[in-house]
Subunit: 391 residues, 4 copies
Amino acid sequence: MIEGRSLDGTNNKLTYGMVGGGPGSFIGPVHRAAIALNGQARIVAGSFSNIVEEVYQTARELGIDEERTYETYQEMAEKEAEREDCIDFVSITVPNHIHFDVAKVFLEKGINVVCDKPLCFTEEQSKILMNLANKNNVDFMVTYSYTGYPMVREAKELVKSGKLGKIRVVVAEYPQDWLADRAEDQGNRQAEWRTNPKFSGISNCVGDIGTHIENLVHFVTGLEIDEISAKLEKHVPGRVLDDNAYILLKFKGGATGNYWASQIAIGRENGLKIRVYGTEGSIEWEQEHPNFLKYVEKGGTVQIMSRGSGYLNPATQSFIRLPAGHPEGYLEAFSNLYKLYCEKLIEGKSGKSSEIQFPTVVDGARGVKFVHDCVKSNEDNNKWVDGSFND
Amino acid sequence: MIEGRSLDGTNNKLTYGMVGGGPGSFIGPVHRAAIALNGQARIVAGSFSNIVEEVYQTARELGIDEERTYETYQEMAEKEAEREDCIDFVSITVPNHIHFDVAKVFLEKGINVVCDKPLCFTEEQSKILMNLANKNNVDFMVTYSYTGYPMVREAKELVKSGKLGKIRVVVAEYPQDWLADRAEDQGNRQAEWRTNPKFSGISNCVGDIGTHIENLVHFVTGLEIDEISAKLEKHVPGRVLDDNAYILLKFKGGATGNYWASQIAIGRENGLKIRVYGTEGSIEWEQEHPNFLKYVEKGGTVQIMSRGSGYLNPATQSFIRLPAGHPEGYLEAFSNLYKLYCEKLIEGKSGKSSEIQFPTVVDGARGVKFVHDCVKSNEDNNKWVDGSFND
Amino acid sequence: MIEGRSLDGTNNKLTYGMVGGGPGSFIGPVHRAAIALNGQARIVAGSFSNIVEEVYQTARELGIDEERTYETYQEMAEKEAEREDCIDFVSITVPNHIHFDVAKVFLEKGINVVCDKPLCFTEEQSKILMNLANKNNVDFMVTYSYTGYPMVREAKELVKSGKLGKIRVVVAEYPQDWLADRAEDQGNRQAEWRTNPKFSGISNCVGDIGTHIENLVHFVTGLEIDEISAKLEKHVPGRVLDDNAYILLKFKGGATGNYWASQIAIGRENGLKIRVYGTEGSIEWEQEHPNFLKYVEKGGTVQIMSRGSGYLNPATQSFIRLPAGHPEGYLEAFSNLYKLYCEKLIEGKSGKSSEIQFPTVVDGARGVKFVHDCVKSNEDNNKWVDGSFND
Amino acid sequence: MIEGRSLDGTNNKLTYGMVGGGPGSFIGPVHRAAIALNGQARIVAGSFSNIVEEVYQTARELGIDEERTYETYQEMAEKEAEREDCIDFVSITVPNHIHFDVAKVFLEKGINVVCDKPLCFTEEQSKILMNLANKNNVDFMVTYSYTGYPMVREAKELVKSGKLGKIRVVVAEYPQDWLADRAEDQGNRQAEWRTNPKFSGISNCVGDIGTHIENLVHFVTGLEIDEISAKLEKHVPGRVLDDNAYILLKFKGGATGNYWASQIAIGRENGLKIRVYGTEGSIEWEQEHPNFLKYVEKGGTVQIMSRGSGYLNPATQSFIRLPAGHPEGYLEAFSNLYKLYCEKLIEGKSGKSSEIQFPTVVDGARGVKFVHDCVKSNEDNNKWVDGSFND
């Protein structure tokens, strides 16, 4: 059931602040809507833009006290940390290239952090953030949104339960077509920064969507990468960053994988798809039809499982907001992550410690390393490189 | 883009109150979440239950002033009407059998009304509500939620644009399976009241889901029913109301239709589907895959249109919250209706008058008549009865 | 495995003759290819046309002896009956309006008959043919081709095994679009005779494709019709026979049905589809994806069964010509019927009597009555008419 | 339309012989049925087995004269070559490891050859066969059966017409699951020889199904491979040959590719699928749904094209045996190849020379080199190897 009972209310158990998410932001409002749907937290502070008047404008619109409207994120971290009613967490929805700076400041103050992916740009930065989070005992979520879909959770449970046996092969893909032409020359701001190394770092396609494959596969299967061979390609003339990539993987334990990520696959919108083949069964899930999960037991029929159905795992059932047959989408997936995160914080307040079920700073660091390993392999003629991750 | 920028804020242009939606309610929170997603209105008043303490409990959770927390809906209508800052509209989410009573009280006070379907139980009641709405110049929305899906809007535009030519045949269905057994004996409260004439009136299956077919077909095609022949069936032993129905239709102008509604179709969840065949083309839409619409031009390929794509009608584009490939679902559809409704109210405040794009009290009345006509035909051995509607 | 080992050979156990199937015939060659695929029978006689030179031309092409090349079907029946090596069966592939005449002549001579559907035009004719077949102990197959698909056989087995429980509801449809325009004015010869009562009798759409629904439902479910209410429509200006039909059914035992047949459904090619809902499960099968069958057990996942898979019923397995994943189509379905028919004849030769698994003259008669009942109901304003069949 | 009019007849314009295809053979009868469906050629000679009595048994079943029943293929080649009425072609359906020997003997005699894939085991053998075919002016078809599907032909036409623009990316796959367990130990004879280097050469998975991907991509796109990086894996314990493979490709001209072939992908039957992305559009085709082809024009809807439809290319139309909506399958695809081959021979007889539209010995050689390149890359840690082919 959609909780939402405190959507407009004051009864939410947690408070939060936001950095970024000012006028024109796409993802900021998604975060706020996703949080609001759960009725667990309300926004009370923010530094929404690097343009001062935009900060105040957004703060007013969101009903935030002037006192907790901050012109810089540094000031916000400092002042909030001093307050007795300090925000329970901060949501960082700024451009990728300053994720690290902002996250670091809040971590240093011991404030819980939610940050968009990619976590940061270098492995050194990752380590700093992991260490800070660990040292200051901070709950840090990185919003790999696709892990919030209930049927992805079901997929994970199927693997965990042993129904697939030992995993042998993982085939995953993420085709899109929005960069099939030079959108960066046609006024598409997202295309401009995505294809610009200044704002996207060393990779566009792998960094933006390849990491979603990496995270989703790890989340569902638990497999750890051993070695990576990657081919990053630039198909659209003039591109300096990749817009198509093939990635082969050796996982620890003997399974292997084949990933394809593309931003030039005409006719494909947001086609993240994962297929896992084990010794006893297989699963298949597609982001564009997220309410369904295919499962085959060796020798059996192709079974289509449906979100909201009674035969699902209890862990999956806990994410059901609407009855079976009433489609849920991306927003609910995003919101599910916040649900898990806020539950953890609420339980933490009452001294309980619970299993972490959301993607953390470690997963973010894993993604950063993955991108670097892909680029390294690509630069060395797709040679196999060490892809193992140690947090 | 998800607007949501005022989700927690005070900046919403409208205020609203709710009758119903207390503890345990399913649809109440859906309404509140749907409204909140748009950032157009915030809740400030309510009478959430017929149990006094539940009223206060919910009001507290929603942060509503005690002053505007009402023990009865009658009191709420009266007191709000007297306030200078009277709510801009009331959302009625009470059980079906008191829709009429509650709606009537607010209409009499000239307060705008949103009411779940079915509008009421008799054609006399429909007329009273229509007349009151008309007389008091009230904006009255009935939440036929499926008309809020963007691709349903696109379907309507395709018909309107003449791309289908003259419509000949409409085939629609709505299979479910949740009443395939005696769920009403197994503690399913929804099943209890749905199958009980006291709370559901003269029909269960046609009243609950058959009317969604009727409304959706009328919305998409604009066709007006001329005659109806209906066969209402009770398959599960002990049922006194229908759980499966076949309905044939003659529309004014020569088109015909065949509807099937069922609550006993094992394996089907919420399978509302509409197919429209004209002299020049056809369309097909399924609620369980709402982001897609099939369209065939005579002699052409089967085209799958996708929500969020650039080739869609501007009217459809206006509902896009997330980019193509990022699934939207039932909640967004519901929210889209409120978006249209609130826009109308906001424009009304500034003296503008705009086309009504949401289902109104007239559509509600149309649904009530449809159910009655079906029952009448069924009682007379499925004879054709006059199905024409005059508001 | 495709048998076919005697495709060109002389080792086939049976011989047959054909009436019709001369130059320009579509269905004649389909029959011959379907027979040949099984390697059970070879053609040795024929009267292929009512134009004498075409008879000889086709006979020459097929390598038939002049002695057994007949200028009329009457002569063929007579002469063959006198031969010691009389053909084992005759395949009748003439236009519908002379099915009766040709079948009767061969029945009278005691020669086994295969005849296209519709069997004939009137119930009186049906009775004459049934009586003759019975009296002369003739094996008579009517080629309702869709019953030859392996997954239709599997569907029948699922029903028979009780996996669906007691059947409650059957929803079936057969949309096409080839008569959406006045194809009969555009040189389409099939359209010409299909829409002409002289050659098609009292119905076009129900007679041509509605009867396929009737036969398929009866084959899969075993249900016997009790009452029929039918609405036959002419949508294309100038038509004198139906091109769209809705048919409601009460079956003996309490199940009900809703059929839709259409030749004007733009975008649909040959969309025969059957859905059967029982108290314990449901099935769904589509002719355009014939290698798959959907099955849902109450409370379970949607299961997609695939032709050639090991989990299928042994009765289904016996029809497997190619391994799973290697699509079979219409031709193999047609051929499967002949396989069953020839097996029956071969067993009969050795004195064995076996269960009849192909559609017989009785099924043909059932179809004739169905068409008549539909027309009768339609003429009386879609009133319920007695639809029960007694052979 | 199914031609078939000479299925049992003597009027076929061509004669052929077969090597292999005796008792227990799967593919032999498929060849014979495929040929027979076209009514272009009849079998008159053969050497069906290396067991003499099986030779005679099959010959008798097929009605072949004793005179043209040969105990060895060598004798057959010699004797037929001496006859005035020498067979027009020979179909070689023997186990893979003797393809070369048999083909060579007939080529030396100047007899036209049809041979199953793989053509042979080494590049030296390929060259010998190519040279012989060239020198003796022999028409040589290698039965890459999937190129016979009409919608594959349509795909090729779409690429050729420029509708996809310049091709950038090809993603193709061929998952199966029949070797997911040690079927070779469970009495599965096909599994026994497929996994045995003595009979399968240096590769199982790439050799059996990877080459189908290679051939299909080349057929549809015309792309020539430049470099190959391949990873061949053995997942089932005890295997000495590959049962899963990932292959990356650089094509001449800048396009790249990613292929996946697997025999251990539980739940997958025969999932050959090809996707081609160009600068202007894309296509997608799946062997298990062969009557359909997806096509997207940049910025447009997803279009589903259907076999038999009027909008298809005339070249595709020429393969239509049954009207749209009447599924054709694997057998018809196989038969289409023979249709093209026999047409070529028939035209050759009358001195005409026409474009070759079937896969030839050159395509066979291409496949042999592909397998070798994959193995070579795999042995060198998946390094890029030269994959270019020169015939």
